[in-house]
């Protein structure tokens, strides 16, 4: 549906600073009906990416095709302007026009868009869109008299009223307060899934990306760090950066000491300051190569049953923090330290030795330590 090839965008240097490469040759393929997140820290290029798709930014290299129609091809000097791309977009500031009513805002794409709709059809379409975001009663209200949440719904109704091929959302939840955000996350996903519109959204919040998207592209420094389903990013991070950005992670530097066959796959033994961990997940490192072992705090099992593939370790727990649904603590063994997550109902006795285990299928070996 949306196909992006080797997209590049540089910003000219501003006094004294070096040139900024906002996007550095990114490829993406987004499927019809997919809800896709562009996730990353600030300055990773995700907003430039969205603006390039929207036609608000002109890339320096690469191509963008929406639904088979090429909208940007820098080499062929092709650039379709934003208003001819048939898009819907919700802006970070919502950009609800303050000099119009809710109805006029939502009717804009039908009245002034490039596919004009006959007047008698407009009312039905606008009220339908307002109904979807549950704002029908406010149709005639002037836009300045809306709360933040209502403004967002107006922006959303305006973005879907003309049934665009592609819906773009720029940090859709960042201006809402925490409770409303949880509510809208579910509602927004439900809405775009019902409509079946392919949707791309930008966020810096991993919870937002994981909770809403079918697939996530994690960007870093203008490049793709990893693309995959939320579970892929969480359970099989491709690098220490991904592991740290998506959830908490212990990153233990070390090197591969052995690779051996194991139940149809390969098992890797990885030596760290805490001892040797076994991993059965895919690993590209060869014996002797350095990297890091990524262990999520929740991957750890307390008092494990002894079985093949379970790395067992004995030590003591320190600095327990009670978080309600779980307890987090530092597990110390010799020189090594591991942040672990425990069941909230388990008592933690700081003085008694405790044995923990890390199953091989929960242990990820990555190249590099950052």
């Amino acid at each position: 549906m949306l196909s992006i090839k080797s997209l590049t965008k540089r910003f000219p240097p501003r006094d004294g600073e070096a040139q900024v490469v906002a996007i550095d040759g990114i490829d993406l393929d987004i499927r019809q009906g997919e809800l896709f997140a562009l996730l990353g820290p600030s300055g990773c290029g995700k907003t430039t990416m969205l603006q390039s798709i929207a036609g608000l930014e002109s890339p320096d290299a690469g191509t963008i095709a929406i639904g088979g129609r090429v909208v940007v091809d820098v080499a062929a000097r092709r650039f379709i302007p934003a208003n001819e791309r048939g898009l819907g977009m919700v802006f970070q500031s919502y950009a609800v026009w303050p000099h119009m009513t809710v109805y006029e805002n939502v009717a804009f794409p039908l009245r002034h868009g490039n596919r004009r709709v006959p007047d008698d059809k407009i009312r039905a379409a606008v009220m339908g869109a307002l109904q979807r975001v549950r704002l029908e009663p406010l149709a005639e209200r002037p836009a300045p008299f809306l709360s933040g949440g209502q403004q967002q719904r107006v922006a959303l109704a305006r973005a879907i009223v003309h049934e665009p091929r592609l819906l773009l959302l720029d940090e859709p939840l960042s201006n809402l307060d925490a409770r409303l955000r949880d509510e809208m996350r579910t509602e927004l996903r439900q809405l775009v899934k019902d409509l079946g519109i392919t949707t791309v959204f930008v966020t810096h919040d991993q919870v937002e990306a994981m909770g809403m998207a079918d697939r996530v592209a994690l960007l870093n420094g203008g490049r793709v760090a990893q693309i995959g389903a939320p579970q892929d990013l969480y359970f099989r991070p491709a690098s220490a950066f991904v592991a740290n950005f998506v959830g908490q992670a212990n990153v233990l530097p070390g090197r591969v000491v052995e690779r051996r066959a194991y139940a149809g796959g390969v098992s890797v033994l990885f030596e760290t300051a805490m001892g040797v961990f076994e991993s059965t997940l895919e690993c590209s490192l060869r014996v002797g190569e350095a990297g890091a072992c990524v262990i999520r705090p929740g991957a750890v099992v307390v008092a494990p049953e002894s079985r093949p593939g379970m790395t067992v370790c004995t030590g003591t727990l320190h600095r327990p923090v009670f978080l309600g649904d779980r307890i987090e603590a530092d597990f110390r063994s010799g020189e090594g330290l591991l942040r672990v997550s425990l069941n909230a109902y388990d008592a933690v006795d700081p003085s008694a030795p405790v044995t923990i285990g890390v199953p091989a299928e929960r242990c990820v070996i990555v190249a590099g330590t950052s």
């Binding site: 500031s93 950009a95 868009g113």
Partner: protein, 570 residues
């Protein structure tokens, strides 16, 4: 119960006595002249205010019954509306071109318009007279040679309007460019994304959103032109186009005969009421503008519209406008190097000389005027920034009637036309020892420019997060330390800007210096006026050139540094 430490209960940072003192000073500065103005209007002809036993309505009746009043008001209205419309339109087009399109040379336009503050309106008037006076105006001479016709005359209403609009365009430009910059570009992007063409976006979104702001700029310009004095004096008197401001001047300093202060004060009241009504309208509209405020955007840089094949013509058009605006200054520079005025051409080249400058620099009168000017501009700009800073701080952070009084009092002079204020100050100080000293000029400029200082500094203070100053107090700093260490450093750009603005305007102002002119209070602008009046054209041209050069050298570098710093700030 322990008493709350006073420094925390009063986050102003200084005592109530100081607050009272500041408000009292402002009240005397602002109300004193107004009271005298009102009393003068009610004083019988031939007497000074407070000399007469009884009051009379004769003067006011005289104003209303004056057969000229209709013509005066009509002239003033046509002049103000015409200059405002032309100036604001040019500013709107230029602001759109430089802020929203890829027109080449946007930086040049911006820099020249910032520097324009250094060019006194009086100098523009002189320059335009040299350019298009009937007879030997340069443009007329040239066009007579080329076309056999003399298309221009400076002594007409339209010439007055055009020259005035050139002099107000830069101010309107700075204000309108600010409107464009403060408008969230996402509002326009949202229109494009949802399928509208650029032209539709401009018509349905950009213009309606700008409308309240443009209206307030328009009224602001209208007030400025209604109050304008220099160009109507220099161009309008010869053209016999009297407006209210020049009538007031002529009544209080006639070429021949005795001043009629009562009638001058009464016309002053008419102009004051007119300006006050406009000011009231201005604040109504500024208030309405608030309702268009929306959640601000960050991180988006405004995209520029591609002008395509219009790019070069647009740049050329803007360039031509700059050249036309600079012409009066250029002709003065040219004249300043000649023994007597001649149209530019090869025959005049041989006579170029530095004699005018030599004469100026060795003249005792000019040297004294320069010293006086230095004294005037430095003390009025410093006093305005000090007083306006205190008043702004009291009105933004203080509570209660005293704070509101400070606010209203310091804003009031914005509605008082300088020429009216000058008459009032003249009447107030005429019989005091202050009259005939530089002090009365300083008082005049402090009063006139206080409103600008307060407005710009309160604007900056409102943006200053209250927690920043409260944090200093909680950390144990006392009030004065907090002001010195936190508020002043954070507001330094705005303080320097206000100081410079007052400095430049005080140096270029002609109203106060010529209305309060005595042998001891000659400043550069009043010397310039007398030289022009003699007429000593080359001498006046050389002095005007020196004044503009000094102001440009002082104002422009500081402004460039300040604007660059604020652009790179996060």
């Amino acid at each position: 119960m322990a008493s709350v430490p006073s420094s925390l209960s009063n986050s102003l940072g200084f005592s109530r006595t100081t607050v009272w003192l500041v408000v009292a000073v402002v009240a005397v500065l602002v109300c004193g002249p107004l009271v005298v103005l009102a009393v003068s209007a009610l004083t019988p002809a031939g007497l000074l205010p407070f000399e007469a036993r009884g009051l009379t309505l004769d003067n006011l009746v005289g104003v209303v019954a004056n057969p000229d009043l209709g013509r005066l008001l009509a002239n003033t209205a046509l002049y103000a509306a015409g200059s405002m419309a032309l100036g604001t339109t040019m500013a709107l087009v230029l602001a759109w071109l430089t802020e929203r399109t890829d027109m080449p040379g946007a930086v040049v336009v911006r820099t020249v318009f910032f520097a324009w503050m250094a060019v006194p309106p009086a100098v523009l008037g002189f320059g335009w007279i040299l350019l298009i006076n009937p007879g030997n105006g340069v443009l007329n001479v040239w066009s007579r040679a080329l076309l056999g016709a003399e298309p221009f005359t400076i002594y007409s209403m339209w010439a007055l309007i055009v020259t005035t609009s050139f002099s107000v365009t830069p101010t309107a430009y700075v204000m309108i460019a600010g409107l464009f910059r403060n408008m969230d570009p996402q509002l326009e992007d949202a229109g494009l994304i949802h399928g509208a063409r650029s032209r539709t976006v401009a018509r349905v979104i950009t213009l309606p959103l700008l409308a309240p702001g443009l209206l307030s700029v328009g009224i602001y310009m209208l007030i400025a032109v209604v109050q304008a004095f220099e160009l109507p004096l220099i161009v309008g008197l010869t053209a016999r186009i009297p407006v209210l401001s020049t009538r007031i001047f002529l009544l209080s300093s006639p070429d021949a005969g005795v001043p009629n202060y009562g009638l001058a004060a009464s016309f002053g009241l008419v102009l004051l009421v007119l300006a006050a009504v406009l000011m009231w309208g201005y604040f109504r509209i500024v208030g309405a503008g608030e309702k268009y405020r929306v959640v601000g955007a960050r991180g988006f840089r405004a995209r520029r519209i591609w002008l395509g094949r219009w790019r070069v013509p647009a740049g050329l058009g803007a360039g031509c406008l700059l050249v036309v605006m600079a012409m009066p200054v250029l002709i003065l520079v040219w004249t300043s190097f000649l023994p007597f005025y001649q149209t530019p051409g090869p025959q005049a080249l041989a006579q170029l000389t530095l004699a005018n400058y030599r004469e100026l620099l060795t003249s005792e009168a000019v040297r004294r005027a320069a010293l006086n000017t230095g004294l005037l501009v430095l003390s009025s700009s410093t006093l305005v920034v000090l007083l306006a800073g205190l008043v702004a701080w009291i009105s933004v952070r203080g509570r209660g009637p005293l704070a509101r009084a400070a606010d209203v009092l310091s804003f009031a002079p914005a509605a008082i036309p300088p020429v009216v204020m000058a008459v009032a100050i003249l009447l107030l100080y005429l019989r005091t020892p202050l009259y005939g000293t530089m002090a009365v000029l300083v008082i005049g400029h402090v009063t006139i420019y206080l409103a600008f200082g307060t407005r710009s500094l309160s604007g900056a203070l409102v943006q200053l997060n209250r927690d920043l100053t409260d944090a200093a107090l909680v950390c144990g700093a006392n009030g004065p330390t907090m002001l010195r260490r936190i508020v002043v450093p954070l507001l330094r750009p705005q303080l320097v800007n206000a100081w410079l603005w007052v400095l430049a305007h005080s140096a270029r102002d002609l109203t106060i210096p010529i209305m309060l002119m005595t042998a001891n209070t000659m400043v550069v602008s009043s010397v310039l006026w007398t030289m022009w009046d003699i007429p000593n054209l080359p001498g006046a041209a050389a002095l005007a050139t020196l004044l503009v050069v000094v102001l440009v050298v002082v104002v422009v570098p500081v402004q460039l540094v300040l604007s660059r710093r604020s652009a790179s700030a996060p």
